[in-house]
Amino acid sequence: MKRAIPVVVLSIAGLVPVWRYEPSAGGTTSTTAEPAVTPSSSASSSGSGSSSASGKVVKGTTVNTDKGPVQVQVTFAGDRITAVSMLQQPNHPQTTAAVPKLIAETLQAQSADIDSVSGATITSEGYKQSLQAAIDAKGA
């Protein structure tokens, strides 16, 4: 039976109002947001046996953008990313509006009818075995 794919919406967008109504004028707002989601109990995959309930929280370095500094926080269960949230966000309507919503899914391995393949830069030697080579051969 096909198991429902656990889709977890990391509601970074849900934090937008927090930034938007931060009363500080100019500069940056600094919110210490809790991780937006906690890992579902079925999240641990082979290779990451230790998925504690809280997970490991890592703060990213502060990155300067055109609109001001941005800092993200990533929560791990083992090597799995369970949440990404913004610690620092420029106090700028354009960027707050543009804060993305991220969706967590399980990795699928599929075959499909396609026109081209994107992947890490393949070497000329590796090309023969690649899906792209098969597409090129089929269409030639």
């Binding site: 993305p100 991220l102 967590a104 699928q108 599929q110 994107s118 992947g119 890490a120």
Partner: protein, 245 residues
């Protein structure tokens, strides 16, 4: 018309569906990419890039093309807090990550100028699509003959950074060490210049690169983390399971 040639060390596949586009237009694409290889390869001692890297060419002596590439490198270095750096610690000048996307995007622009409206140009896994719908599969990071998703594009670009093909070649410029936080990072954007640079820069940033790339205007992201979990933006153009009739 279909062509495959090996340029810059990787295969370049071109498919043009327009009837009236001449073979010369395709010739011009590959001629441009060979020119880029000779001028911008850090692996050729006499290239403009190598000469700049050795300090033989000052900034004001560079071609307009290389100056444009350097501006792009600087843009992404600042935007990533130094994780993406064409001058990584302990290594020579290497703007490859920007040159690839920039040059293949320009090749696509040449095709458009020659009258091509419906084509797919795939340069070693980086794709520019025009006049779609086109279905572009994203290689599964652990199974070379499988896909982890399919993106549907009308006009746009897809680039993927990962280490399953060439090992730990992407360095976190903040530490000088290989980036290992992600298995693969795929970015869809309007131009390949942006998609390829953002994919590489986000891969260098590691796990925090997912939100960073997703926050860039016009970028849609499909990332596989080190444990094999997917994080993608809501707007990533996931294609339907099968091709529309």
């Amino acid at each position: 018309m279909r062509r495959v040639e090996h340029v810059m060390g990787f295969p370049v596949s071109l498919r043009v569906d327009d009837e009236g586009v001449s073979e010369e237009a395709a010739d011009a694409v590959f001629a441009w990419l060979r020119e880029v290889d000779s001028r911008f390869s850090p692996f050729r001692a006499d290239s403009e890039v190598s000469r700049h890297g050795r300090g033989e060419l000052r900034r004001d002596q560079l071609s307009a093309d290389l100056a444009e590439v350097l501006d792009l490198c600087e843009h992404y270095r600042v935007a990533t807090g130094g994780a993406f750096d064409a001058w990584p610690p302990g290594r020579g000048f290497d703007p490859c990550a920007v040159v690839k996307g920039w040059s293949v995007q320009r090749a696509a622009d040449l095709l458009r100028a020659a009258g091509a409206g419906r084509f797919v140009l795939n340069a070693g896994g980086d794709v520019v699509a025009s006049g779609g719908p086109w279905r572009v599969g994203v290689r599964h990071p652990e199974q070379a003959d499988k896909l982890c998703t399919v993106a549907e594009l009308t006009d746009g670009a897809v680039a993927t950074s990962a280490r399953y093909e060439r090992g730990d070649h992407i360095v976190d410029g903040r530490t000088g060490r290989p980036a290992t936080g992600l298995l693969s990072m795929t970015v869809v954007a309007a131009s390949l210049t942006e998609a390829d640079s953002v994919a590489t820069a986000a891969f260098a940033l590691g796990a925090e690169g997912v939100a960073w790339a997703a926050a860039r205007p016009g970028c849609e992201v499909f990332a596989v983390d080190a444990a094999g979990g997917v994080l993608r933006t809501e707007g990533f153009p996931v294609a339907s399971r099968s091709r529309a009739a």
